[in-house]
Amino acid sequence: MSANPLLMGHPLASTENARHALLYMCRIRKFEEAVEDLFGRGMMHGTMHLSIGQEASPTGMCMALTIQDQITSTHRGHGHCIAKGADLTRMIAELLGKEIGYCGGRGGSMHIADVDTGNLGANGVVGGGIPIAAGAALASKMMKKGTVAVSFFGDGAMNEGAFHEAANLAAIWNLPMILFCENNKYGMSSSTEKAFAIDNLADRGKGYGIPGINVNGNDVVEVYEAAQIAVDRAKKGDGPTLIIAETYRWKGHSRSDKNLYRTKEEIEEWRLLDPIPKFIARAIKEKKLTQEQCDAIQQEATDAIVAAVNEAVKAKAADPAGLLDAVFKKVSA
């Protein structure tokens, strides 16, 4: 599977674009389901943070990006990685601790990076990627690359100092950066109602002199449209944008979550707002895709994940022999 060049444009601009939007959302969904399954079968180590229900946000954002534009991601990062065009086999292989995995088995789910698609990496530290994206944007500006840097983070991360410091730097230096918050209502068990004294997280932008925009994070079209405006702004040199995408994670925070902090009804309500059928209905209505095409695309995503899992399972396990040499990049002579 070769990396998609991205810069797709509007999800409803053409049949090809609609196909991309649906395919990538389905890839994310099927990937996460496969991860859950591998875990359930004891084939995967560690923990997992699934983004099922949130697929429209990274897909819509990344359709406004080129392959050179950079992202930083989070512990819940599989979706960002896939939306930016990563290779599914190497992703699964990483989760299975294989040599061909993105990190050679050294990083696992929370640390996948894919330099070829501009993904500077997921992060185990909440908020850790936000200042890094500001730095990437600073480099872009200093080196006149013309690229933007997008930091994906959760609502919970907005209460870390890292968010505040990075937002201010991006603002005062007018950086080509997008602060993309996936507001899924909870940071682990902390609801946004408990963790914030403001109702609208986008208001935080004002405090830094950054436009703050709310979008329906379960609507890939709406996400794309806001993302495109933010990208245009950044590339024109007008500075950063804070996007708050309202979404929801269907699954527990990680594998050990008993969901004691929310109700079954709430989860059910949000399941009805599934971004995938929402987009299918829209694409069919706007005559970009037919039902048959949509079915085929979903099948294609499933097949791609199955193939990736099969290939990754067969790959060679990472070898401890090279560990000591892996810490530092060799100093060139």
Binding site: H45, G46, T47, E94, G97, K98, C103, G105, R106, G107, G108, S109, M110, H111, N123, G124, V125, V126, G127, G128, G156, A157, N159, E160, G161, A162, G187, M188, S189, S190, K194, A195, F196, S256, D257, L260, Y261, A317, A318, P320, L323, L324, A326, V327
Partner: protein, 332 residues
Amino acid sequence: MSDRMLTMAEAVREAMSIAFDERPEVFLLGEDVGIYGGAFGVSGDMYHRYGSERVLDTPIAELGIVGAAVGAALSGMRPIVEIQFSDFTAQAMDQIANQAAKIHFMLGGALHVPMVLRTPQGSGTGAAAQHSQNLEPWFASVPGLKVVVPSNPADAKGLLLASIDDPNPVIFLEHKLLYKIPGRDPVPEGSERIPLGVAKVVREGKDLTIVATGIMVNKSYEVCEKLAAEGISVTLIDPRTISPLDMQPVYESVEKTGRLMVVQEGPAHAGFINEVIAQMAGSSSFGSLIAPIKRLAGMNIPIPYAPQLEKAAVPQIEDIEAAAREIVKNWR
């Protein structure tokens, strides 16, 4: 003596509950310590028993959380902070190392910081490099912090009660693999304290002295049992608190055994266990050694993800056994 076998999570919860009952100024704050019961289930039902004013759920903001604890501690409260993973003490390091640790000294004794920061550390869960570190040398290198590394539920209970009593900042490092397993010894009822700065001689032997910290005490214990069956007897010493450090039992033991091995999970380079070696080297007991001191520690690498890599990165029971055998066989 009771025969209650608790896990470390249960023992820590029991100690916190006793302290809550004894002193109204004790409270717990941290991420997800409330209704979730803590990321590792340590606070458990305390939120339901003590309410949201004493079991304070916080936003994800480690610097703020620890700073708030420092301020509350300066002002009459006795906070217990839970940082979800020790790795994220990095976010709070200013408040820990520059503020809490120095206030009493720097301010001429005018104020003090009766605060306990509890946090899980260590590898073995597949959580990779940013969730698996053993950071005791960070804290042990800061004068003004007391550092506790319990290896079993009974010690954890007594040491935590003493830590909460202590008028100084105490960093209490719990190995996350110990949370769910019962200890070898029962956990006493009641509220007896185990004083900070007193090492524990876990078992006594005449051929080798092993000093191990945290989970390595448990791994070393298994090795001791195995070697005992073959006629090799080992003294195992658990310092329990690494600041302050009680070396006396180590000196006394080495005078009998003549051989010393030190074991820790964290990386060897500049690790805490080197302090034991340094103090040994400068002591009058040094002359009793008939073998070079053996150091067994983690590799000097971040903790990797894949299980086969993660295992290779830290000492395993087999490694401790092989090293112990070697030092006893080769130096007579």
